[in-house]
Symmetry: C2
Subunit: 254 residues, 2 copies
């Protein structure tokens, strides 16, 4: 349950994605971005996956950019006909698509005149007002427009783009987490766990059951305040101890 | 690009999900559900991940259940305080939460009087009007209310619930797919690929670049019409052949 441990800077991720929605390709950017953002003090607060349809992308962009401090999009910025993210974001902002001179210069220099094809020139287009995000891997830049960051979908490129924008982000507090594996049905500790949550309102306590080799629950305690996690974890361990349940050592607070 | 190959039955998935948004746990249900739905002739058309906050869940439920034929939710139906999906869906529908007598009977029988704790009784609660979805793995049922299917988050349980609802779903056409790996920069085939897309409007042609051991692009052609895929794939292979690019054998149409 998310409680008042919510920090004050929140982001959303929009995955542009027929290939993800088909189930054939598994998204690899969500968890990387979530962890990266939390390290710089920003909470990933909503994710959407939408198909490669301009109106759907534009509607999601407008819903998410107005609701959160930042919106990251991944996918659809390549040279092929199905890469419609730039056009869709431009439609969301109600601005035209224009060639960015610096993007053009960088790509012309990198590819040389002969290899700077029409398709590659497509990757110099930005929604009017967009600024470039460096792409150390494959040159073709990402784009920032207001609070929207248009990123590549290829994980290696997306990750390299993040490093370049870190300094430009307004950041809040990191949310720390600590987890404890309890080897008992979560229903047996549910009542006690609910009371501990009430008594530790500065934390968010989640219980995630697992089945497979044995069964049990991973108890995850989150807070921007490490001492609050420590106190709540102590209470959870006392509860399990009193009820005679086996536990692993809790993880480090990280 | 999604074109007129869209079939007529569409579903959305709502992942309820502090643990997914934190990046600590990777969702395993999206791709399974997408592939399963397509096999029965339903297209997964949008996915959202929202935090464990009742108003956020309820708002997403209402947005998605009105937009799509079906909505599946995963997560948040266990016995602990952070399991708020039933209450949130009830709020979305504007109905009270009630104990479902058959759910109560099943769980009382399974656990016996002594082990049928208050926490487990929480799992007999449904939004008023909800019907049960069988859970062959761990008894506690999922819930159907109108076009919304409330499923467990644990993949093994979610998957077992799907089998029980298959017969109740209105189904459309399966979208077939075939892919071809081309060992060339996608920008080099972009122009030709765009023309082939225009000439084959009954298909949806996607190009997904990869980097790592070599580089290239996976060309994925989708359609409910296998012959249309066949024709478009022939055109793509001719294009690559004419340009002298190495290709792997295309996959089977599946």
């Amino acid at each position: 349950m998310t409680t008042e441990t919510d920090t004050d800077v929140q982001a959303a991720l929009l995955i542009i994605g027929d290939e993800i929605l088909s189930g054939r390709t598994k998204d690899a950017n969500l968890s990387y971005l979530a962890v990266w953002l939390n390290e710089v003090g920003i909470q990933l607060s909503e994710v959407r996956v939408v198909p490669d349809i301009e109106e759907e992308i534009a509607a999601a962009v407008n819903a998410l950019r107005s609701k959160f401090d930042y919106l990251f999009t991944t996918g659809g910025i390549g040279p092929t006909h199905d890469d419609i993210t730039v056009d869709s974001v431009a439609a969301a902002f109600g601005v035209p698509v224009v060639v960015h001179p610096e993007a053009y210069r960088r790509m012309a220099e990198y590819y040389g005149e002969e290899n700077f094809t029409e398709a590659r020139k497509r990757m110099t287009r930005v929604p009017e007002g967009g600024e470039l995000i460096d792409n150390p891997v494959s040159i073709a830049p990402g784009i920032r427009i207001e609070n929207v960051f248009i990123m590549a979908g290829v994980p290696k490129i997306m990750q390299s783009m993040l490093e370049g924008i870190r300094a430009h982000l307004r950041t809040g507090r990191k949310v720390w987490a600590q987890s404890l594996t309890v080897h008992a049905a979560e229903s047996k500790i549910a009542e006690g766990l609910g009371k501990i949550q009430e008594e530790h309102p500065g934390t968010s306590i989640g219980s995630y059951p697992f089945y497979g080799q044995g069964y049990g629950a991973n108890i995850v305690i989150r807070s921007a305040d490490k001492d609050a996690i420590d106190a709540a974890m102590g209470a959870v361990m006392n509860l399990c101890d009193a009820m005679g349940f086996d536990m692993d050592h809790p993880t480090a607070i990280d």
